[in-house]
């Protein structure tokens, strides 16, 4: 099968560019620790485990030469990948879980829409079709099979309380307008939607006409979610490639993921 004479010049060029700094690698991942907030659901529902770590040994009587830990957490903890099977609307799709999604889908182009000012003014800010269209006027049309990443600088919140921003009516965090989602799928063929807060839907999205549209509609159409990203401020509006492979969990609905972004200097 292999053509031994053919050299992988494009890949070598990529590596060389990375080595030389012409292509920069940006880490879009939150550090996983016990303080990473997980999504808050009504307490009578099933709950996602928070990230917890217990030491197995640290060069001690439990393992003289080794340091290692056990950790536990829900699939949707920290910076994570939502697979289509995560939502009921995507449960019957082919290749809908972390072990069956085609691997080429884990490397894709990303567009970054900056909503910082809007989110700062209004924590319930919703990104609309108009907002995206006006963004396209400046930065160009979203290429097919791209991620749309919504930058809000929400990941810079200092405390879990501010990050989750809960009151007695639920969470107040920005997200996509329910009308934006079908438009992104049908008109722009996005691969998925990413953001900086704890879930891809807005905090109040369970009260929408279509509740949790980013989950319901995206996953229903085989698209992915990528919440709890950081460092989106370091990315250009267009031209980023992001690498997002979740752990290959059989029938996994998602997993914590180390998201790497490649940008050209």
């Amino acid at each position: 099968m292999h053509n031994e004479n053919k050299k992988p010049t494009q890949l070598l060029e990529l590596v060389t560019a990375i080595t030389r700094g012409n292509i920069k690698v940006i880490d879009l991942t939150m550090t996983l620790d016990r303080k990473v907030p997980t999504i808050v659901l009504p307490p009578e529902l099933g709950q996602s485990w928070p990230f917890r770590m217990e030491e197995i040994s640290k060069y001690n009587e439990k393992g003289p030469a080794t340091y290692w830990n056990n950790f536990s957490c829900g699939e949707h903890t920290g910076t994570h990948f939502d697979a289509p099977i995560h939502w009921i609307s995507g449960k019957d799709l082919p290749n809908n879980s972390t072990d069956t999604i085609e691997p080429e889908k884990f490397i894709a182009h990303a567009c970054v829409v900056d909503c910082c000012r809007e989110a700062e003014k209004n924590p319930d800010y919703l990104l609309t079709i108009d907002d995206v269209c006006s963004w396209e006027k400046t930065y160009g049309k979203i290429p097919p099979r791209s991620w749309l990443l919504m930058r809000t600088d929400w990941s810079m919140k200092k405390t879990p309380e501010e990050y989750l921003n809960l009151d007695d009516e639920g969470a107040h965090t920005p997200g996509p307008h329910e009308e934006l989602i079908p438009w992104l799928i049908d008109e722009r063929d996005v691969i998925g939607f990413g953001c900086e807060d704890v879930g891809t839907d807005a905090g109040q999205a369970s009260n929408f006409k279509t509740p949790m549209p980013c989950h319901h509609l995206m996953h229903g159409r085989g698209r992915f979610g990528l919440p709890a990203l950081t460092n989106l401020d370091k990315l250009p509006a267009q031209g980023t490639v992001i690498i997002t492979p979740p752990l290959k969990i059989r029938q996994g609905s998602g997993s914590p993921v180390r998201v790497l972004a490649l940008i050209e200097e």
Partner: protein, 413 residues
């Protein structure tokens, strides 16, 4: 007259903390009958089934008629103080650290002469009331106080060794986000606790109870999540050397059975909070409390777990919850044994259903959290080991004692 306890001063950091020692702990099996009575606050002695003679010290054969049918029965706790002494010398380290130590010999209304630890206000030839208490080594002893309670009784330094009065002590309440946590905090403040530390997990979840705790005097809130080893470790490193009474009121109740409602995740959460949570608290608060039990009359003294009476028998409507409570109970027995070496007593409060959001559909009678809190504090003041709270819990204990197989087959919410 009892000298009022002087308000504890801040610790002199240049002074060495006294190493805990224990009173003599060797007891016969018969004598542990007293421990069983003391644990639940009864004043019971062996009574001969044949001739009704009350026996003391405990034994296996009636000293009157040689019958071997001796039963533990509640007897009149009154008596007259016949003679007394104030020891200025002792052969045991524990007492040497605490002399002078007051003792008396009491002729009990029930019959026998009883050597008892003596409250300061007892007067020779006058009437006293006796109680069975548990000493620092975890064994039953008899204490005598004046027949009529005196105002400063709770300040009696010697009797404080046998009970855990929160007065002037610093208390950690593990979970401030339940009503029970709030009520315990309120009642601790009312009982004169010097400082009340209250734990709060998941800071992003608001709690009206915690909001009320914020307004209590001498009370401060700390981040504490018993499911998080680092969190427990962090708090222990901050306030571990100040906690003198630890109230572990961790609480996570979810309805459901085993076969009919299989839910490992809920069971996991219950175990994380009730069982592993207790482990984590023990691992980080236990060692430092053990080192501080001799740190003056306000030294570290007690660890109290608030458990459900379903720790004693599984309620199928609360299958995994009951199991996690049983696990915690089992662990508390180990904790009792390990903490005993440091003079810290481990107490368990067993409650019936409590009036709260998670036990909404449990039928009455249900306990008001404030009642539970008051009983917990009374139990600490009395030095009980098992504090059985409410009619349901009492009935469960009685039915287990009577016929465990019967209650096993019929218990439900």
């Amino acid at each position: 007259m009892t000298t009022p306890l002087s308000k504890p001063k801040r610790k002199d950091p240049t002074k060495r903390t006294r190493i805990p020692s224990l009173p003599p702990g060797k007891r016969s099996r018969e004598a542990h009958g007293l421990t069983a009575m003391a644990a639940v606050g009864r004043f019971a002695l062996q009574v001969c089934n044949e001739c009704q003679k009350v026996q003391y010290p405990p034994r296996q054969i009636c000293s009157n008629c040689l019958n071997d049918k001796l039963f533990w029965r509640d007897v009149n706790n009154g008596g007259k103080l016949l003679a007394e002494t104030k020891l200025q010398h002792s052969n045991d380290t524990y007492f040497r650290d605490r002399i002078p130590w007051r003792l008396g010999i009491v002729i009990a209304d029930a019959g026998p002469s009883i050597v008892a630890h003596l409250g300061e206000d007892c007067i020779r030839d006058q009437r006293v009331r006796m109680s069975l208490s548990i000493d620092r080594a975890g064994n039953a002893v008899i204490t005598a106080r004046p027949e009529k309670p005196t105002q400063l009784e709770e300040d009696d330094v010697q009797l404080r060794e046998m009970a855990f009065n929160p007065k002037d002590r610093r208390v950690l309440i593990v979970d401030g986000k339940t009503e029970l946590g709030l009520r315990i905090a309120e009642n601790m403040v009312a009982a004169g606790a010097r400082d009340v530390f209250v734990g709060s997990a998941e800071p992003w979840r608001s709690s009206s109870y915690l909001d009320k705790i914020k307004d209590l005097e001498r009370t401060s809130i700390y981040s504490l999540d018993v499911t998080d080893t680092e969190s427990v470790k962090e708090l222990a490193s901050m306030i571990g050397d100040k906690v003198e009474i630890l109230v572990n009121n961790s609480y996570h109740l979810r309805m459901g059975g085993l076969v009919d409602k299989f839910d490992i995740n809920t069971a996991h959460d219950e175990m994380e909070i009730h069982y592993h949570g207790l482990m984590r608290l023990a691992a980080f608060f236990g060692p430092i409390m053990k080192l501080r039990s001799a740190d003056g009359p306000q030294g570290a003294s007690a660890w109290l777990n608030v458990l459900s009476a379903y720790a004693l028998i599984n309620n199928p409507d609360l299958a995994t919850y009951s199991a996690s409570q049983a696990a915690a109970l089992s662990l508390s027995q180990c904790l009792r044994s390990e903490m005993a070496a440091g003079g810290i007593r481990v107490l368990n409060a067993f409650t019936g259903p409590i009036e709260d959001e998670w036990q909404q559909i449990a039928p009455p009678p249900k306990l008001i959290p404030d009642t539970v809190a008051k009983r917990i504090i009374k139990g600490l003041q009395d030095g009980k080991e098992d504090i059985i709270i409410g009619a349901v819990a009492e009935e469960i204990c009685a039915r287990i004692a009577e016929n465990a197989k019967e209650i096993e087959r019929t218990i439900k919410l």
